[in-house]
Every structure is written in C-alpha cells, then in structure tokens.
Amino acid sequence: MDSVSDLKSKEIKRATLNELVEYVSTNRGVIVESAYSDIVKMISANIFRTLPPSDNPDFDPEEDEPTLEASWPHIQLVYEFFLRFLESPDFQPSIAKRYIDQKFVQQLLELFDSEDPRERDFLKTVLHRIYGKFLGLRAFIRKQINNIFLRFIYETEHFNGVAELLEILGSIINGFALPLKAEHKQFLMKVLIPMHTAKGLALFHAQLAYCVVQFLEKDTTLTEPVIRGLLKFWPKTCSQKEVMFLGEIEEILDVIEPTQFKKIEEPLFKQISKCVSSSHFQVAERALYFWNNEYILSLIEENIDKILPIMFASLYKISKEHWNPTIVTLVYNVLKTLMEMNGKLFEDLTSSYKAERQREKKKELEREELWKKLEELKLKKALENQNSAFNMHSILSNTSAE
C-alpha cells in the first residue's frame, strides 16, 4: 500500500476533519440526535481496523523506535473529533448508548495494542470518558480489560497498551465504593499480582504499583495477601525487577497500618534481608534505602524485637564482606541505627552470631576431615585389591609357564 498516493484527496479529507473538530468545539447545539448515528459510524469506519503485523518481530519497547501509524494525519483528527464529541456539554449518553455499545467498546479496546504511542494516548482519554459517562458499560469494560490482561500474562506476553489500561484502572479503583466487591478483590489477586511476573514489567510498573497501592488504601485488610503474593513472585534472577519490587514494597509500607505490618513483618524482612546481602549493588542499595524512610523506621522500631534477629546476620556479614564500599557504608549506618534502637538486643545478637559462626566453622572442619579419611580409605582398599590381583596373576602366569 502506497502511503503517498492520492495526496489531493487526502488533503481534502484532512481539511474537512479539521473543520469538523473546530465546529464541534466552538458551537453549541450542533450535536443533534439525528447526527449521533452518523458520527459514530464515521468514527468506527476510520479507526476500527485490524492492526498490521509488526514490521519488527523482535520489537523491544524500551530500545526500538515504534512503528508509527501511516494514516496518523487523519486518525489523529478523528480521535480529536471523538473527544470533543464526548466532552461536549450537549453530549447525551442516553442517546449515544444506542451506538456506543459493547461491540464498539470491544473494538476500541483491541486498538490499545497499537504500536503508535500517540494513538494509545488518545485511546486512554477516550476510554476514560466513556467509562465515566456510560454507567451501563462499566462492568463490561472491566471484564474485557480483565480478559486482555489474563491473555497478556498467561498466553502471549505481548500487548502494547498495558500501561495505558492500568492508568485508567488506577482512577477506576480510586472510585470504588466500600466495601469492595468480591469481583474487585479477585481482580487484584488473580490479575494484578500475577502481572508482576511479566517480562516487560519495566514498561508499566509505575502504573501497576499505583493500582496496587490504591487497592490497599481502599481496604487495608488486603495488605497481607498482597504482600504474600509479591513475595511469592519475587524475582529470583532479574535484578532490575527486584529493584522495582523493592520500590513497590516501600510504597506499600508508606501507607501500611501498624496492625497489618505486624502480620507480614517476618516473611517480608526475611526477603529484605536477602536483598540487602545481594551481590548486585543496586538491589542492596535499594533495600538499604528503606532505612531513610521515617515511617518505616518508626515501624521497625516498634517491632525491633522481631525484626532485628532476622536482619542481623546478613547485615553483619555484609559489613565485613561486600565488594562495594558504598554498600558497606550504608550498612554501617543501618547497623548504627538499629543499635540505637535496642542496644541490649543488638549485643546479644552479636555474641550469639559469633558463637554461631564458631560452631559452623567447626562443622566445616569436621566435614573436610571426614572426606579426607574417605579418600585414604578408598586408596588403601584399591591397593589391597590390586595386590591380591597381582598375586592371582602371578599364580596364573606361573602355572601357564609350566
């Protein structure tokens, strides 16, 4: 398909669309009931299309340039027009709902897979307005987004519009009424939490974390399942993701209630202890930065008797062994802070740690001794057998020589 053919006609169309946008924005009383059907038809005809296959099959959204839509000069104006139409004070959802129905919304959602970020941006705003004005479509929209995400997580790992959809969801969640419906809680646990496992998390993590925190602000009893869920999916080999997860944990801790904190402090700090001793300095640093957060510090102080034993061993070890001097400095500061919180406990842990290390060293030595003994035993046995074989052999050769 040639994008530079028919230039004259394309220019005429562009000018007309421009006129339409102007007209609708500046005049009142122009959106009459008889026009709705044609307006929606025009919009559908222009934007609803099967998205072409990607030119670059190994498209990496972070690195590569996206393939932009060739007909953007027209499509952009159509989207503009659509938005002005929806936002116009004369717009009446009761009439429009005959035309902007489930089929329309379904096709709109499919367009979110477009590679062109400008289109996705428009779609985001359009969907947001539709969700706001058409109460009857809300459940359907949520369900379809559900399906898109589930397919993304479990089947294809590919969808360009995840971040935009999550942004819309953020404001939807913000508007949830309390108590939260079971459907919403299920969405959180079965869709949003597993979405953390996606390979391209970096592209939409900010929006995802925002959604999660919004949920927790609505209903604090969700804290425990959420944190346990995140711990379950904690990245084991991707350090970049670990840093993101730590960021999200800090955001959650920022709004956590002290009672909820008590429920998850042990498993959480076990994970933080591992992060702190990670050999990847960014992960260790991010985990140690928790100690710069006033609120977290106060939570730790309140629960120091539970937390310090968990953290102590790894902190102590790193202060002696980590390769990165910045980390070592940070660790010293953290140790100092903890010591100031509860000096006695700190001392007890120090001495028991030392005793523990001695015990471990002794065990190591014993094990090595055992292996050495086994080697010698094997050698002895082998020689014995060989000697007996030689004896047999010489007996045989003597007999044959005779």
């Binding site: 397919r151 079965k190 082998a382 060989q386 052999h393 050769s397 020589a401």
Partner: protein, 603 residues
C-alpha cells in the same frame, strides 16, 4: 504409574530413624489406582500457570486410556464435568482437552451430556475458553458419529469462525481441516465451504495467514473439484493480499499446491491461473515474500516440463538470481538440482556465475558459508573445465577468509571436490596452491595448510601424501608459533594411517620425538598423543617401542594392561610392573589400579 521403591534396604539401612516412614508410602504407590491419582491432577488442572495445566491435562488423558469403560463413567466423566462447570476460566479451558478421550467409550446418555458441555464451552463468555474449545474442535469431531458432526459440530464451527475475536477465528480454520476430512463432497460444499470462503477473505490478516498456512492440508481435505472451483481463486487472492505476511505464507505453498493438483490438466491450470500471480510476486516489495517464492519456485520446473520451463520459468529464475536480497539468490541456488533434471543448468550458468561470485564475497559470513555448501553440487553439474576456469580462485580465496567457520567449510569443500574430480586433478590444481600457503606470514593461513592436508590426504592417497605433503608438514614442525607446531603433531597423527611404515619410522618418529621435548605444554601433549597412536600401529608390525613413552600419555590403552602375558614377550609387562614404575602422583596410581581391578568386585 510410579514404581515402588525397594522396601527397606537402602532407606532403612542409611538413616535408621525416620526413613522407614517412606516404606508404607512406597508400597502404596504400587497399589494406587487410576482414580486415586485423579484428584491431585484435577486441582493441578485449574492452576493459573499454563504449563502446569497442560501437563496435568496430558496426564489425565493418559489415565483415561487405562480406565475400563465402567470406571470411565464412574470416575473420569464426573471429573470432566466438574472442570467444565468450574467458575474460574482455567478449569474450563482444561476441560476442553478431555472431551475427546472420554467420548468414544461412554454410553449414549453420557455422550449426549459430553456434547452438551462442549457446546456450552464453545460459546463461553471468556475468549480463553472459546480459544481452547476451538483448538480442540477438530480432535473432538474426529471421535464423533457422522450425524453428530453434521448436526452439532458444523454449527459450532460456523459460530467460532465468525467469533468477534480473530484469535478464535483463526483456530477455527485449523479445525476446518479435520472437519473437512470427515464429510462427503456434497456435505462439504453445503456446510463447510461458505465458512472457508469467508475465512479466506477475513478482515483480519491473521485469519487469512492461517488459511494460507494450512492451504495444502485444506486442498487435500476438500478434494480436486472444490479445489478447482473455490480454493484456487482463494489462493490467487492470498497471493496478492495486502499484507506481506500473508503473501509470503501463500508463496511458500505454491509448489505443494501445484504438486497436489490432479495430473490431468494441471499444466493448464498452473499456466493460466497460478503463473501470472507468481510473476507479480517476483518483483514484490517485501524481501520475505520474494525469498519464500525463491525457495519453492524451482520445484515447478519438474511439474511443467522442459518447454514451459524454458519459456516461462527461466526468466523468473534469472530475475531472482539478480535480486538485491542475498537470501533470495541463495534460495534459488540451493534448489538448482530440480532445474538440472529438467533442462540442465547450462542455460543458467551465464547468470549463475555473477550471482555466485557476489554471494561468495557477501559481507555476512553466513551467506558466504551457504554458498560454500553448494559448491560441490555446482561443480559437479557445471563440470571440471568450467570450475577450473571460474570457480577455482573463489575456493582458494575462501581458505584465507577472516572467519574461521568459512576456512573450515572451505577445507571440507576441497575434500569433496577431490572426491568428485579425482586425485590427478587434485595433484595438478589444488595441492600446489595449498602447499604454497605453508610459507604465508600469517600463522592462521599456515595452519589452514595443515587442515587441508588433514582433509585431503585420504582422498589423495599414499603417494601424493608421502611425496608432496609430508615434507611440508615436517618442515612446519620448526615453526615459531606453537599453535602451528602442535597442529603438526595432530596432522601427523591424522595422516599416519595413510603413510607407509618406512616413512613413519624414518621421518615421522624423529620429528614427533623432538616435538615431545618442546617447551610448550600443548605441543608436548599432542606430540605424545601422536607417538602413542603411532607406536600402536608400529607394534602391530612387531617393531620395538620404548614403554616410557606410553605411560606419559594420560589416556593409556586399557586393553594393554588386561591382555594376557605371553612368555618371552618383552614388550608386554605385567600390571604390577607398570604400577611400580610410574607412581608419580596418587591419582595416576588410582587410575591404573582401577584398570587392574577385576570388574566384578567393584563395590
């Protein structure tokens, strides 16, 4: 089912305290029945992770085969029904994979229920479930009675093929093949073809792509008459589809399509209805399309025969040989043998040569590598004079390419050429040029000489090897680069079997021994390897060899130790002697001791 662990022995002996608790479980595993294993599999079939679910479904399918028909209805079918009515979509998707295995042996009433469940899953709310149902539709149709296929499956198929999600529609196309195989021609025309026609013109390129991809299967399933009336026009449209992916998929199928047409009249069909479209594709804008076409177009020459090939196909081949995309040119060259059968490639040789020469110098090494692979074939077809005149210099140039993989392939290439053209040709044309490289200032090129000698010695025979190659190899033993020296040792080992014993004794052995004293570790090692191999060969001819040379080689011959002693034979010392002589380190001792050990008493 899992086998039972040996009760007690290893387990009880080792731990003593809690390990015996494994014993009852071990026995139970043996006694487990199929139905006992089902519950855990059922819950695994509902988890989120697709890999886990798929394996659980696989296992359940296997179990179903082991049930008796009665047990099937009592234990298995209820499980399937529970999964099919589960409220989270995961269990429903798993259920889709289980219908076809329990249907055949169920009673009629149960069969009705199973069909009912499948119907409802095909119109499930969640697209994931509909996708799963669509992908299993063909399999399910195969186990159904023909009436049910017509009355129930076909409507389901039609619905899924017009689903609003294209991911569901394209799976229906796959099912189409299976369904078409079950129906008669009349039924096909009435029930399936309308849907298929629709799919070939679907607004989503993915569905059209699927039609193109499955074209050969569809062709076979619908039979020649419908192919002629419906499929060929559809194929024409796919060949000029607006999406390159679809055109490429269709182009891939051109040869198969033509081959599967009925022999009578197929020439006319191809000439009139397919060829015009193919001509367009040769100048397509997208390189994948052209490349796909190039890989199959040559195959048409055998179908169309000599005259048509010369008049119509030859211009296309030539055009593609000059294409700017190297992959297209390569695909043409790789399929030359089809054309050779029909018209001989002399016709092409004019255009072939520039194409080959350009590909041989392509910037991408993989392209160069591909051309080298075809060189023996081309040489054989073009003949020795043409080769010497035009292609010989190319082959030599490859020997000094920057990329090792090219040099290696070029060496193999030479070996194959010698096999084709004979030793005299080799002696006159190849060998002198190869041996000249031994004086090249670049050590990599000198090593290439050795690799060539390795490859060529067998094909060239003893005389050439001894008289011409061996002196060069021996000379290089004094090279200043260690890599060259140890490759000399390796070469001598390789060509040893071809040389005669005089050469071995007189010329090779002294050189190897000197290399065995080299200051470089690797040179020493390879030299000693070569010596021990050579010593073996010489021993077979009853020539004296020093023992100490053998022991230093780490991989000493096992048989040597275990062979019975013959009185009076000095060369075969008893095992004990070996042991005492060289006990440098315990490890070697242990190794030797193990070899002396009688196998049965190993614990």
């Amino acid at each position: 089912m899992a086998g039972a662990a040996a009760p007690g022995t290893g387990l009880g002996a080792a731990g003593g305290d809690g390990d015996d608790s494994l014993y009852p479980i071990a026995v139970l595993i043996d006694e487990l029945r199929n139905e006992d294993v089902q519950p855990p599999l059922e819950s695994l079939a509902t988890v989120e992770e697709t890999v886990v679910r798929d394996r659980a479904v696989e296992s359940l399918r296997q179990i179903s085969q082991e049930h008796t028909p009665v047990a099937l209805e009592v234990h298995f079918v209820p499980l399937v029904k529970r999964l099919a009515s589960g409220d989270w979509f995961t269990s429903r998707t798993s259920a889709c994979g289980l219908f076809s295995v329990c249907y055949p042996r169920a009673s009629n009433a149960v069969k009705e229920e199973i069909r009912q469940h499948f119907r409802s899953l095909c119109s499930d709310d969640t697209p994931m479930v509909r996708r799963a149902a669509a992908s299993k539709l063909g399999e399910f149709a195969k186990v159904l009675e023909l009436d049910s296929v017509k009355s129930e499956i076909v409507p389901l198929f039609t619905n899924l093929a017009s689903d609003e999600q294209d991911s569901v529609r394209l799976l229906a196309v796959e099912a189409c093949v299976s369904i078409a195989q079950l129906l008669s021609q009349d039924d096909l025309e009435a029930l399936v073809m309308p849907t298929l026609r629709q799919a070939a013109e679907d607004k989503s390129w993915r569905v059209r792509y699927m039609v193109a991809d499955k074209f050969s299967e569809l062709q076979k399933a619908v039979g020649p008459k419908i192919t002629l009336n419906d499929l060929i026009p559809a194929f024409q449209n796919l060949l000029k589809d607006c999406e390159a992916e679809v055109r490429a998929a269709a182009a891939h199928k051109v040869k198969e399509l033509c081959e599967n047409l009925p022999i009578e009249g197929r020439e006319t069909i191809i000439m009139n209805q397919i060829l015009p479209y193919i001509k367009e594709l040769v100048s397509d804008m997208n390189q994948h399309v052209k490349s796909a076409l190039a890989s199959v177009i040559m195959g048409l020459s055998t179908i169309l025969g000599k005259e048509n090939t010369i008049e119509h196909l030859l211009p296309l081949f030539l055009a593609q040989l000059k294409d700017e995309c190297p992959e297209v040119r390569l695909n043409i060259i790789s399929n030359l043998d089809c054309v050779n059968e029909v018209i001989g490639i002399r016709q092409l040789s004019q255009s072939l040569l520039p194409a080959i020469v350009e590909l041989a110098k392509d910037a991408k090494w993989r392209v160069r590598l591909a051309i080298i692979e075809y060189m023996p074939l081309l040489a054989g077809q073009l003949g020795v004079e043409f080769f010497d005149e035009k292609l010989n210099s190319l082959c030599m140039a490859w020997l000094v390419d920057h990329v090792y993989a090219i040099r290696e392939a070029a060496t193999n290439n030479l070996m194959k050429l010698v096999q084709k053209f004979g030793t005299e040709w080799a002696q006159n044309t190849i060998v002198p040029k190869v041996l000249v490289m031994a004086d090249d200032p670049n050590y990599l090129h000198r090593m290439t000489t050795l690799f060539c000698i390795n490859a060529l010695s067998e094909a060239c025979g003893q005389e050439i090897t001894t008289k011409q190659m061996l002196p060069i190899v021996l000379k290089m033993a004094g090279d200043q680069v260690a890599n060259v020296r140890f490759n000399v040792a390796k070469s001598l080992q390789k060509i040893g079997p071809i040389l005669d014993t005089n050469a071995l004794q007189g010329e090779v052995r002294p050189v190897l021994q000197k290399l065995g004293q080299d200051e470089d570790m690797d040179v020493k090692y390879f030299a000693q390897e070569a010596i021990s191999v050579m010593a073996q060969r010489l021993r077979k001819l009853d020539l004296p060899v020093k023992d100490s040379e053998e022991l230093s080689a780490p991989r000493a011959d096992k048989n040597h130790f275990l062979s019975p002693t013959v009185p009076g034979d000095n060369t075969r010392k008893g095992p004990a002697y070996q042991l005492h002589v060289n006990t440098r380190d315990k490890l070697a001792q242990l190794e030797l001791a193990e070899r002396v050990h009688f196998p049965q008493s190993r614990d």
